[in-house]
Amino acid sequence: MALAIRRPKVPAGLQRRRETRFAWLLILPTVLFVGVFTAAPIVGSFVLSFFNYSVIAPAHWVGLANYQALLHDSNARAAFGVTFLLTAGIVIAEVVVGLALAVAVQRRMNWARPIFRSAFFVPLLVSGASISIVMSYIFDPQFGVLNYYLHLLGLPQVPWLNSTWGAIATVMIVVTWQQLGFTFIVFSAALGAVPKELIEAARTDGAGGWRIFRKITVPMISPSILFTVTVGVIGTLQLFDQPYVLTHGGPGNATQTVVLDMYQQAFQNLRFGYASSISVILFIVVLIATYLQFRISRKWVFYS
């Protein structure tokens, strides 16, 4: 159908500039939103890290003093150690268990995949704080449901929240349980996209299930593994809700994560400059971790 509207002829260069301008106009709200609520606070934190600032008194320039103090702060060093430990444990558990569940459901109960997908995803929709409150009743060493059933089974009771390793394990279990839905869905989608003819060809050639999984399935879903690991590492390095509610960072500082330490320094100790220096270091750590993952991924991620 011919258009009745007649447009004036516009030179190509002018047309391109108009389009570019209009495109900028469209993305401007997002750019401003990110600028004001993400970039500006990042820059603000960086600037603040060179000041001694208690919020209720004027800020004083202290140069690198906050970073020097951070170097000598054994609590902050411990918090980074705890965070790395939790990140390693949680990300590995999320990937391994998520993948195992996705494979099991795909092979044995493909018909029930939507049910499992919903069941595993629901915890992800609930806030970490709410889940942690419920979990604190389950994992309570003295009066918790879990130890009650362990006792019924004749098993020894576990000091979940009041021993160093019990508290670390509890935080890992709770976070992994909550995040599992995400990795499950990503791996379910990735497994569904693995070409069946490749697997059938391998089977025809006599390859067993484990060998097919290792040599075909894993390489084919390796981009998804990289994605879940990257997202998991970035998220877990910023862990706060669960240790804050479950253990308050204890016992001692056994589950004191970097963000929890940052929160305490800022909002309880009123050391906003110092807390900002911790956030800057954490930002650099996240950047390095992400860069290393992509760098190493060249050796094991297969993009078909």
Binding site: E19, F37, V55, I56, D140, F143, N162, G250, P251, N253
Partner: protein, 476 residues
């Protein structure tokens, strides 16, 4: 209808583009200004208008609404045209509450008044956030004489800092021992007497535990009423106890003939850290020993809600509590006779810890005169009664401690609450210096460390080092 292509190719005039950018930038700038307010100084005045008093309350919105309904009508009748805006700030504990209040002040939106407990009194006073009340009190001394003559001087002194008074205390709680009469009866264990000792406590705990197979006692990791009660009973403290000079204006004016006011000065001065003093270590080690003997549960960190629930559901036989437990246990379904209270047992001494609370006027308030009128109104028995209806705390006015007040909630030995102040002149506030927030965090960390490692000494050596650092930073 035009196509997408047509829409995208439509000319956008320069004026239209600039107007769009301008509007968007304006919104962003407004947002930025809002954000930058977060980092502003505390110089901003209170958020309310001249006719509105904004009062921050530590609790849920429903609690704030209840307080508002209880005290607003009388205040508004006396001060027509003034409205009260109760702002609920739900802190998990005082530390959390103060963090939120300080953030509110920093954001340029401070209230006129805020609830302040012993925990934060020196924090607010030392940082210049709270207004001293000396001149207000002295200019209204005639109308306040009745209040002060009805309030024990220790409750006033604990609200003083460096000779100045900052709060007219409305309620208080001493660390007493609550026990379940129902559980002790079942186990055939006799109730503790008022001069019972640590050994008596141990015997009761052991008898109950043997009879029931359950833990006898529990506590919460916090500064008020945790193992700190045992530390006080062992005549020790985390910081050396002293007093600021001054305060004679108060004692000479209102407590001249009160023997309980003898020797009182300008508020508690918390000095050098003594957290690894042998008596302090002994107190915390006693908690570890009780846990190892399965006479005590592993304590939670926090506000004590879980502990109250466990006690109310008959899971534990004894715990530390104050007058506020009467209302809490009643609300949780306990009958007035199913629990009772006794003084805290003696160890090397019989000494109790204390915390009281009230409203502080912020220096930034633009409505100071009206804020003072509100503070004064809360000294009236009717307002105080409404404020702590249902025995959610203990009134500071002695005359309000009556049998009829405790008849609906219990406990039978309610005179213990005020009796702690009268019978034990050594009752002392919890150690809450200006660096309370750091102290509270380190205290919780080191206590859980001790309970998990089983070594009180190493944890308290760590706490001593923490406190020395905080004290040094605070004084520099």
């Amino acid at each position: 209808m035009r196509t997408i292509n047509e829409l995208t190719q439509r000319q956008v005039s320069r004026r239209g583009f600039l107007a769009g950018v301008g509007a968007t930038a304006g919104m962003a700038a407004a947002a930025s200004v809002g954000l930058s307010g977060c980092g502003g100084s505390s110089g901003g005045g209170s958020s309310g208008s001249k006719n509105t008093l904004t009062i921050a309350v530590n609790g849920t919105q429903s609690a704030a609404t209840a307080i508002s309904q209880a005290v607003s009508p009388a205040f508004k009748q006396a001060h027509p045209g003034i409205s009260l805006n109760f702002m609920a700030i739900n802190g998990t504990d005082w530390n959390d509450y103060f963090a939120k209040i300080l953030t509110l002040i920093a954001s340029g939106n401070p209230p006129d008044l805020t609830t302040v407990a012993t925990e934060g009194l020196q924090l607010f006073a030392a940082k210049g956030l709270a207004e001293p009340l000396n001149s207000y009190v002295m200019s209204d001394k005639a109308s306040l004489q009745g209040f002060f003559s009805d309030v024990h001087p220790v409750l006033i002194e604990s609200m003083m800092y460096q000779g100045d008074l900052y709060v007219l205390p409305t309620d208080f709680n001493c660390g007493n021992m609550f026990f379940s009469t129902e559980l002790l009866d079942k186990a055939g264990v006799s109730y503790p007497s008022d001069n019972w000792t640590k050994d008596d406590f141990y015997n009761v705990a052991q008898k109950w535990s043997t009879a029931s197979g359950a833990v006898a006692w529990d506590w919460v990791v916090r500064l008020w009423g945790s193992w700190t009660s045992w530390m006080y009973a062992n005549n020790a403290n985390l910081l050396s106890e002293g007093r600021w000079p001054g305060g004679s204006w108060m004692w000479d004016t209102f407590y001249k003939n009160d023997p309980a006011a003898q020797g009182r000065q300008g508020g508690w001065h918390w000095g050098t850290p003594t957290a690894n003093d042998p008596a302090v270590v002994e107190a915390l080690q006693y908690m570890i020993d009780l846990k190892n003997a399965k006479l005590s549960a592993s304590p939670d960190v926090g506000g004590g809600g879980t502990l109250q629930g466990l006690f109310a559901s008959n899971h534990i036989a004894m715990t530390i509590g104050g007058g506020f437990w009467a209302g809490g246990l009643h609300t949780a379904g306990m009958t007035p006779t199913s629990f009772d209270v006794q003084y805290f047992p003696a160890w090397s001494v019989q000494k109790h810890l204390l915390g009281d609370a009230g409203y502080a006027m912020l220096k930034s308030s633009n409505n100071k005169e009206m804020a003072w009128e509100f503070m004064k109104s809360l000294t009236e028995p009717a307002a105080l009664g409404a404020l702590i209806a249902g025995n959610t705390s203990t009134p500071t006015r002695r005359s309000m401690m009556t049998a009829s007040r405790y008849a609906p909630t219990g406990p039978a030995h309610w005179p213990v609450f005020y009796g702690t102040l009268d019978k034990f002149p050594n009752t002392t506030p919890i150690p809450a210096p200006p660096y309370y927030q750091q102290l509270a965090t380190a205290f919780a960390d080191r206590t859980t460390q001790a309970m998990s490692s089983g070594s009180a000494k190493s944890a308290l050596d760590g706490l001593q080092s923490d406190l020395e650092g905080f004290a040094s930073s605070a004084s520099s």
